[in-house]
């Protein structure tokens, strides 16, 4: 009878630690995720520009790998945002760099051709990807 209690207590401990683990789980490094879609920043932007609703259904929360030319790069204390050329003068594809990739982002310059993997959050003026990792950089 006593043994049962030990099993029950162990089970509860196990369950609560699994719960605790999932509750506190951080994001996976985007670098390790497989891209659901791959295209150029020009293609992604023009597709979004043509039909935002449809693109949201297709791409929201998905891992997109986008290659393109770096139009601007905005660095400050807390974040790095790499904007890729979209073919449109006022807009672009904006990639918010994940913490794990801040180091490599230091060497990115305007005009570089780059491949970035990130999670699609939709379109404001730019199409915005978050938690971006830099998969390839040719400067």
């Amino acid at each position: 009878m006593k043994k049962y209690w030990i099993y029950i207590i162990l089970l509860l401990l196990g369950l609560s630690s699994v719960g605790y683990y999932f509750y506190n789980k951080k994001f996976a490094n985007t670098n390790s995720l497989k891209a659901d879609y791959q295209f150029s920043s020009l293609e992604l932007y023009s597709e979004y520009n043509d039909n935002e609703e449809l693109c949201n259904q297709k791409y929201l929360n998905k891992v997109l790998q986008v290659n393109g030319r770096v139009k601007t790069i905005q660095r400050d204390d807390t974040s790095v945002v790499i904007q890729l050329d979209s073919g449109d003068e006022l807009s672009g594809v904006s990639c918010i760099v994940q913490n794990e990739s801040l180091g490599i982002s230091q060497s990115v310059k305007e005009g570089d051709s780059i491949a970035i993997k990130g999670i699609c959050t939709g379109k404001l003026m730019d199409v915005v990807l978050i938690r971006c990792s830099i998969s390839q950089l040719n400067n």
Partner: protein, 184 residues
Amino acid sequence: MKKLFLSFVLCTGCLLTFAQEKYFTQNGKVSFFSATSVENIEAHNAKASSVLDANTGKIEFALLIKAFQFEKALMQEHFNENYMESDKFPKSTFKGTIQNMKDLKLDQDGTYKVMIKGIMNMHGVEKEIEVPATFIVKAGVITGKSEFKISPSDYNIEIPGVVREKIAKEISVKADMIYQPLKK
């Protein structure tokens, strides 16, 4: 004399265009904090866009809900799926007017306190709010900052009983924008 007159007209023309200038940013920061005795929650969005019309005092903000980043993956998932329903309502906007635009001298260095009144659109609900903001003009750079509180219940965001203790009734929102002149 004619030339002088012409250059005078041209100059006033320039000044007028300057006064009508619009300012914008696409990399504005918006974050929010929920503080309770059980847990502190914060999330950051680095891609808010904003346009300020120096002439009329009209000011607009827009951001993508999904671009809010949390430290914990599960929280971000719950925020998007259960509370903000960001598949259905991907954007949030605020359109307002600076009430005391005459006090805000964008061409003069200084710190200016203003009130902004307008319509917040979030989770498919529109609500009129009035928030204080501070503009700092320094060496031609215009920074706008604001801090205010909103209640999830005002925007039909239901917090289930199990987590009610963990999420504050009023959420503090912080906005931090560095504006650039909008070139035409």
